[in-house]
């Protein structure tokens, strides 16, 4: 099984190798990097390119880890035992009728290999990460209520993303392959744009890229990233804007700079340069 990128996703050759090595070694791949470098998208594209089902867990700070594996619905069972199961077909004596599986559980139980995305793992607290470690490493978890071990039929392709808001613990890092996605270079960026807007005229692309990378270097609180650039270009194309766009007067600036501070700062710079 080899992942070679897709028509909508530009894949850096280095990253391609990394993904394939991680898949071959059956190790979780932790991708870090700035927002807008395509960390989350990577999992979607792997699933799409290889025709695998994606199981997705968007992490929240309240997660304890276990609910990603399974959920045991005690209240429903109590309710059924009191009022009867009616037409539902559940049997109060069978605990399995009250067990639901989370993304990890589903990925493990599936007969075919799946892609498992744990998005923004850094949002969870370190205990949760430690709990998840063992699960991901062994490819198994235990349903405590019945002491039943669920073992992965096929080790899923595990992609973990982190914005590195908080440091991940050393043991966690040790068990993953870690890769930091650098911000795309100008050439890579033009390839990314071509994938999304094949019809962008070259002059527009060049001036847009120049302005974009110039803006990124000005130390804004929230520098524009790939998503902003694509939005902006989309707006420019819809508007039928004709090049050249000058740095003094950027149309649809709001699509590039999101924070009031940044906008004001930029306007200040603009006024000085006039």
């Amino acid at each position: 099984m080899q992942f070679l990128g897709t028509d909508k996703y530009y894949l850096n050759p280095e990253l391609r190798e990394i993904v394939n090595i991680a898949m071959a070694m059956e190790k979780p791949l932790l991708v870090t990097g700035e927002a807008g470098t395509g960390k989350t998208q990577l999992a979607f594209e792997i699933a799409r390119a290889l025709g695998l089902t994606l199981e997705e867990a968007r992490c929240k700070s309240t997660f304890k880890g276990e609910e990603l594996c399974y959920v045991y619905d005690t209240v429903l069972r109590l309710n059924d035992s009191r009022f009867g199961t009616g037409e539902s077909g559940r049997d109060v004596n069978k605990i399995w009728d009250y067990l639901g599986f989370g993304p990890i559980g589903r990925a493990f139980l599936a007969e075919e290999r799946r892609v498992l995305l744990l998005d923004e793992i850094d949002k969870t607290d370190s205990d949760t990460q430690d709990n998840l470690l063992d699960v991901l490493e062994d490819g198994s978890f235990i349903i405590r209520e019945i002491n039943h071990k669920v073992k992965a039929e096929q080790m899923p392709v595990i992609i973990i993303t982190s914005n590195a808001k908080r440091e991940l613990s050393d043991p966690f890092l040790r068990r993953c392959y870690c890769h930091h996605i650098p911000f795309p270079s100008m050439e890579e960026m033009s390839q990314i744009i071509r994938l999304h807007y094949p019809e962008v005229p070259a002059p527009l692309m060049d001036s847009a890229l120049a302005i974009f990378y110039n803006l990124r270097q000005q130390g804004f609180e929230k520098p524009p990233a790939t998503a902003e650039l694509l939005d902006w270009l989309g707006a420019l194309l819809l508007d039928g804007a004709k090049p050249p766009i000058t740095p003094d007067k950027i149309p649809f600036l709001g699509t590039l700079l999101k924070r009031t501070q940044d906008l004001l700062h930029h306007k200040g710079v603009e006024r000085e340069s006039v």
Binding site: I21, V75, L173, Y177
Partner: protein, 407 residues
């Protein structure tokens, strides 16, 4: 056969565990490194887990697989494995005539890389001793600090000279390093510091209680919810930032304190000079006072860490107007203030940056304060014990309880 490479990684300060090594061989067996660039990516994935290790890894890789010569380690950028080492090799080969000048046109890049890889593998044998130059070339941080260590030991005996203060610090830093007190393991030790307490709205179903109540109800279901356990640790750090006596430990204290600030959300810190009299200060210049009686109004579950060398004139601790600050009007001796803190906060500990071996010789006050607070040094083991103290909430020592009863 790759063993020297692993050691070279270690020399660069990259932790190498047996597990990684096994993983590496496993990957080799799977044929995941058919050429040099893939080998580079593979080894990096297996061994490098943190950005700060990238540089060291690249140097070790260059030295081992490309036989980089001493002193001129090629600084590898992202594509370096494609251009630098390879292109240089290509040029040399063409210059020597072992590859035709038009090799670039005649062979595909893949073929050339393959050849390069083979040569590199052969050369690796020749450069087997190559790992020794790391450190002697003067570029490796490891070897460099080794040299310093030597230098310091020469002067190590005269500890009280002021000119040697800076060197003193280094010596101590070295001491810390030998106890492997580093940012990363410190983080792990501090992670053990927890205070689990029920928090938030009652959302967790208390199954036992629910069944119990339901049975009492004659089968009519009564759901009982409880609040979930969360880490609610609150921490107060009191830092001695005054006087020359703390000066040698500045870097060390900074490291520990910095880690704490990163790790704990509910962290308050205050400063004091030598000993605590009446108040501590919320700014390093000690201009904004915060009275002790305000501190002891805080939740007694709060963990308190005092960082200081506990090294002062005995009068400062024991005499009723012994405060080092000349204009202080405080009449209560330092010892009583410390006792007040200790009696309120059961989970408190004193961290002394001075090496434990010097405590008995340095000042009587160290022992006296050690009777009030459990005292640990700033080594990894010391901090680990301190964390245990803080978690268990050791009862105040016998001595302090007597005084508390008497006062």
């Amino acid at each position: 056969m790759f063993l020297p490479f692993f050691y070279q990684l270690r020399d660069q300060g990259i932790p190498v565990s047996l597990r990684y090594v096994l993983e590496f061989y496993q990957a080799m067996e799977k044929g995941l490194a058919p050429d040099l660039d893939r080998l580079f990516i593979l080894t990096r994935l297996i061994f490098v887990k943190k950005v700060e290790h990238f540089d060291g890894f690249e140097q070790a890789f260059a030295a081992y697989f490309l036989g980089a010569e001493g002193g001129s380690i090629p600084r590898f950028s992202q594509q370096a494995w494609e251009d630098k080492g390879f292109s240089r090799w290509l040029e040399e080969e063409m210059a020597r005539g072992s590859l035709p000048d038009d090799a670039v046109e005649r062979f595909s890049l893949a073929e050339l890389l393959q050849r390069f890889w083979e040569v590199a593998m052969e050369q690796r044998g020749k450069h087997r001793g190559g790992h020794t130059w790391v450190g002697t070339g003067g570029t490796s941080a490891f070897g460099h600090s080794g040299g310093e260590r030597e230098g310091v030991r020469v002067h190590g005996d005269s500890l009280h000279g002021s000119a040697l203060k800076v060197i003193e610090t280094r010596r101590y830093m070295d001491y810390a390093a030998s106890a492997t007190l580093r940012a990363e393991n410190l983080r792990q030790v501090l992670a053990a510091l927890k205070h689990m307490a029920p928090a938030g709205p009652p959302t967790d179903l208390d199954v036992d209680e629910t069944i119990d109540r339901t049975c009492r109800n004659g089968g009519e279901i009564e759901l009982v919810f409880k609040r979930e356990l969360r880490d609610r640790i609150q921490l107060i750090v009191l830092l001695d930032n005054g006087g020359a006596s703390m000066h040698p430990y500045l870097d060390l204290v900074k490291l520990v304190f910095g880690q704490m600030r990163d790790q704990f959300r509910d962290l308050d810190y205050y400063y004091f000079h030598n000993c605590i009299y009446g108040c501590v200060y919320s700014d390093p210049q000690r201009l904004a006072p915060c009275p002790v009686h305000q501190l002891v109004r805080r939740d007694p579950e709060t963990r308190v860490l005092v960082i200081g060398d506990a090294n002062m004139a005995p009068a400062e601790l024991m005499v009723s107007n012994g405060a080092i600050d000349y204009f202080s009007k405080v009449r209560v001796p330092g010892r009583d203030w410390l006792l007040q803190l200790r009696n309120h906060f059961a989970h408190s500990v004193w961290l002394n940056p001075m090496p434990r071996s010097r405590w008995p010789h340095e000042s009587r006050t160290i022992q006296q304060i050690g009777e009030i607070f459990p005292m640990e040094d700033l080594t990894l083991a010391g901090i680990r014990r301190a964390v245990e103290w803080l978690n268990s909430g050791a009862p105040p020592s016998r001595n302090s309880r007597q005084v508390a009863a008497g006062s």
